[in-house]
Amino acid sequence: MSPGSDDRRAQAEPSTGGLNRTAMATTPKIRMRGVRKAFGGKQVLDGVDLDVAAGQGMVILGGSGSGKSVTIKCILGLIEPDEGVIEIDGVNVLKLPRREREALGDRIGMLFQNGALFDSLPVWENVCFKLLAQNRITRAKARDRAVEVLAQVGLAATVGDLSPAELSGGMQKRVALARAIAAQPDIIFFDEPTTGLDPIMGAVIDGLIVDCVQRLGATAVSITHDMASARRIGETAAMIYKGRIVWTGPAASLGHSGNAMVDQFANGERDGPIQMELRR
């Protein structure tokens, strides 16, 4: 994750082709086993097995339609899988009553690909939405908290009064990041955090993600196509192909992992074991 996060790196201790040993020894923060999901006749997830250790930065890689987004939507409870087990801190969230499942959301933050900011609300209300919606904070205090969190993502207090539509793409990503961390979650998901940004802004957002996750001590799960971003924000990477996790290993080894599929994907090579399906 970051140069200073040695503890987390030790905890992740990834190895090519298998889950890391420390994570196996302790309860993973997130554990998926045999998760399957089909839409109509199309099997999108075909038995996903994945462990994410507490405090680890995991990046899930894969081509379009490989099941990355569906995987994290299943963890978030936005999509109900057909089969399988999804555990958070050892508790199978799929078996939880609805209220407890909803309460689990208090510990989770999410940055959506397009930001998904509420355009009917000013930026500061977007940032502190969860705190306000649950009446955990007064509006005056929420405003102060929003200014504080906006500063953490490099935005001035005056941005708080703007509408999301008045912001550039990079600023919208920063606000979305601020919203994801405002309630101090212990698990944060990032869906294509740098998509649509120029390389410099992408690097800035990645840096902010690393800083914020490190400050919170949170577990981070990101999905991305951007290899530079994957190396910057991930300690461990997992490759999903045709609805299955086909490789897990250190993010730093992307491109020279020894796994032909991962290396083809990471290096953007046309020829290799992954063949693009032009028509399904």
Binding site: K73, L76, G109, Q113, F118, R179
Partner: protein, 262 residues
């Protein structure tokens, strides 16, 4: 040969199942939304915003519709009733037609065009831009946050709008009656109130509440279930207006049967 005979039947069967699924889906959606009205947390600010949108900002269009409808009704009644020397019944025909039928139905159709479309477009855009998923990840139930306040606001606002429409419609009829048709003002008003009964007003207001609920239900349901980007949102908006308009007219008949059938 068998396929030629069975294919149309299969298509009818599929359409019937699809219709049942849709009706069932709308019923469950409505039940869930209503259940959120009695379970905390309550979003008072969202209710107030939706109420302002439905009641206050729809007032001009509903008022204009009512005034002109009252004026046209008086004129048409006069030309028809003059053939039977029954011009004295114009005031009562105007008020009863407006209060029982035209007030609620026309106000509801106007609001369906404004508010039904607005609800569907707003919630549909939220759906296709992941804002509804974002609500869920922010520990906020989208049904409670987006749907329930709008349903309550429209159900309360429509009767108030219809009350205003009734008064303005009668005023439109009175204007034409006194300025153009030669009625004495006091006599026109006396005739208006002599024939008006409480049931006429109450039935119109109950209809309005039902129409308000239906408009908000169809607007939110179509928006909530929209898919496929801008085209999906456009389709949802059209469906919301068409479905609520048809339901308003169909339910108008059903409610009239319930209130006035002998």
């Amino acid at each position: 040969m068998a396929a030629i005979l069975l294919d149309p039947l299969a298509a009818i069967g599929r359409a019937t199942l699809g219709a049942c699924r849709t009706v069932g889906g709308i019923a469950l959606f409505a039940l869930e939304a209503v259940s959120h009205l009695v379970r905390p947390p309550f979003y008072g600010r969202l209710f107030a915003r939706a109420f302002l949108e439905v009641a206050w900002f729809s007032l001009p269009v509903v008022a204009l519709t009512a005034v002109f409808t009252g004026m046209v009704l008086a004129l048409q009644s006069y030309t028809g009733f003059a053939r039977f020397n029954a011009q004295s019944a114009i005031a009562s025909v105007v008020v009863i037609s407006l209060v029982r039928e035209l007030g609620p139905v026309l106000a509801a159709l106007m609001v369906a065009g404004r508010i039904g479309a607005s609800f569907a477009a707003e919630i549909g855009t939220m759906r296709v831009t992941d804002q509804i998923d974002a609500l869920t990840t922010l520990s906020t139930n989208p049904m409670k946050y987006l749907v329930a306040p709008r349903l309550l606001a429209a159900t309360i606002a429509l009767p108030l709008l219809v009350l205003v429409a009734d008064v303005l419609g009668v005023m439109g009829g009175w204007l034409i009656g006194t300025l153009k048709l030669g009625f004495v003002s006091a006599a026109y008003l006396k005739s208006t109130f002599d024939y008006l009964e409480t049931d006429d007003v109450v039935s119109g207001l109950v209809k309005a509440a039902v129409f308000g609920f239906v408009i908000a239900l169809m607007g939110t349901w179509c928006g909530y279930n929209s898919r496929g980007g801008a085209q999906g949102v456009g389709g949802a908006t059209t469906s919301a207006v068409v479905a609520s308009s048809i339901l308003i007219l169909a339910l108008d008949y059903v409610l009239t049967e319930i209130f006035f059938a002998q």
